[in-house]
C-alpha cells in the first residue's frame, strides 16, 4: 500500500468543495432529524446524513469503510429503523421531545463546545503523509493478523444479537 502525494491538508479545489458540501449536507440533515415533526421524515433525513458521512469518508480516502457505511447503515440499519416505525402503528409519530428538552439542549451544547474547544486548542501531531491507496487489502490483513480476536468476538456478538432479537420478538 503506497503513499500517494504528501500533504497535511487538502489544498485542491475539488477536495475543498467536496468537504464543504458534504459537511453541510451531513450536519444539515442531522439538524433536520431534530427539527421535522414527522418520524418517517426524520428517518429519511437520518439516511441522508449517513450517506453524507460516507461521502466524507471518501474524501478521507477510506474507500472500504465508506462502502461498508452505505451497505450497513443506509442499506440495513435504516431498513431496520423503518420497519420498527412501521410495526408500531399506534405509537406517536410526531417526533416530539420529552420534558427534558432544555437540559438536553444545554448538555449537548456544552459537550459540543468542549470537544470543539479541545479540537481547536490541541496541537495535533499531524504527519506529512498522503492518502491511502487501497485500504481493503490492509484491513483484511489486519483483521486476520493483528485483530483476529476482536474479529472473532464481533462474530459472537452478532450471533448473540441475532438470537436475542429473534427470542425477544417471538410471540409465544
Amino acid at each position: 500500500m503506497e503513499v500517494v502525494g504528501s500533504s497535511v491538508a487538502f489544498e485542491d479545489v475539488g477536495s475543498i468543495v467536496a468537504f464543504w458540501s458534504l459537511a453541510v449536507v451531513t450536519v444539515g440533515a442531522a439538524l433536520m432529524v431534530v427539527a421535522v415533526r414527522n418520524l418517517i421524515h426524520a428517518v429519511l433525513f437520518l439516511i441522508l446524513s449517513f450517506i453524507g458521512v460516507a461521502g466524507l469518508y471518501i474524501t478521507l480516502s477510506a474507500d472500504f469503510v465508506a462502502i461498508t457505511q452505505i451497505l450497513i447503515y443506509a442499506g440495513a440499519i435504516s431498513v431496520l429503523i423503518l420497519f420498527a416505525v412501521l410495526l408500531t402503528p399506534r405509537a406517536a409519530r410526531d417526533n416530539a421531545e420529552t420534558f427534558l428538552q432544555v437540559p438536553g439542549l444545554v448538555l449537548a451544547a456544552l459537550v459540543g463546545v468542549t470537544i470543539g474547544a479541545i479540537v481547536l486548542v490541541t496541537d495535533w501531531n499531524e504527519a506529512t503523509r498522503g492518502p491511502f491507496s487501497e485500504t481493503a487489502v490492509a484491513i483484511g490483513e489486519a483483521l486476520l493478523d493483528k485483530y483476529v480476536l476482536p474479529f472473532e468476538i464481533a462474530s459472537v456478538i452478532l450471533l448473540a444479537a441475532m438470537v436475542g432479537a429473534i427470542v425477544l420478538v417471538r410471540e409465544d
Binding site: 497535511v8 450536519v27 418520524l39 446524513s49 478521507l60 405509537a91 409519530r93 459540543g112
Partner: protein, 104 residues
C-alpha cells in the same frame, strides 16, 4: 482555504452533540436510537480523520476500529428495536415518558 484535520473533528463534534441532543430529548424510543446512531457516525468520522491525518502511513487501525464500531452498532440497533417492539406489544406505546413503571 485548506481543509485540515480540525475541520473533520469539528464536523464530528457537531454531529456528536446533535446526536446527544436527539438521544436525550426525543420521546419516541426509535428517535432515541436515531440519536445514538448519529453519535456512532460522529465517532467513526473522528476515527477515520485521525487515521488519515495522524497515524503512520501503513496503519489501518482506525479503519479496523470503525469496521468494528459499525458491526456492533448494527447488532445493537437490532436489539434495541427488538426491545422497542416487545415494549410496544405490552404497553401499546413506545413513548418513554409513559414507560415509567420503574420510576419512584
Amino acid at each position: 482555504m485548506s481543509v485540515d484535520l480540525s475541520h473533520y473533528l469539528l464536523v464530528g463534534a457537531i454531529l456528536f452533540s446533535i446526536g446527544l441532543y436527539v438521544a436525550l430529548a426525543k420521546r419516541n424510543a426509535v428517535g432515541i436510537l436515531m440519536g445514538i446512531e448519529l453519535m456512532f457516525n460522529a465517532v467513526n468520522l473522528t476515527l477515520i480523520a485521525f487515521s488519515r491525518f495522524v497515524s503512520p502511513p501503513t496503519d489501518v487501525t482506525g479503519h479496523v476500529f470503525v469496521v468494528f464500531v459499525i458491526t456492533v452498532a448494527a447488532a445493537e440497533a437490532a436489539l434495541a428495536l427488538a426491545l422497542a417492539m416487545v415494549v410496544y406489544r405490552n404497553r401499546e406505546t413506545i413513548d418513554i415518558d409513559k414507560i415509567n413503571l420503574m420510576r419512584w
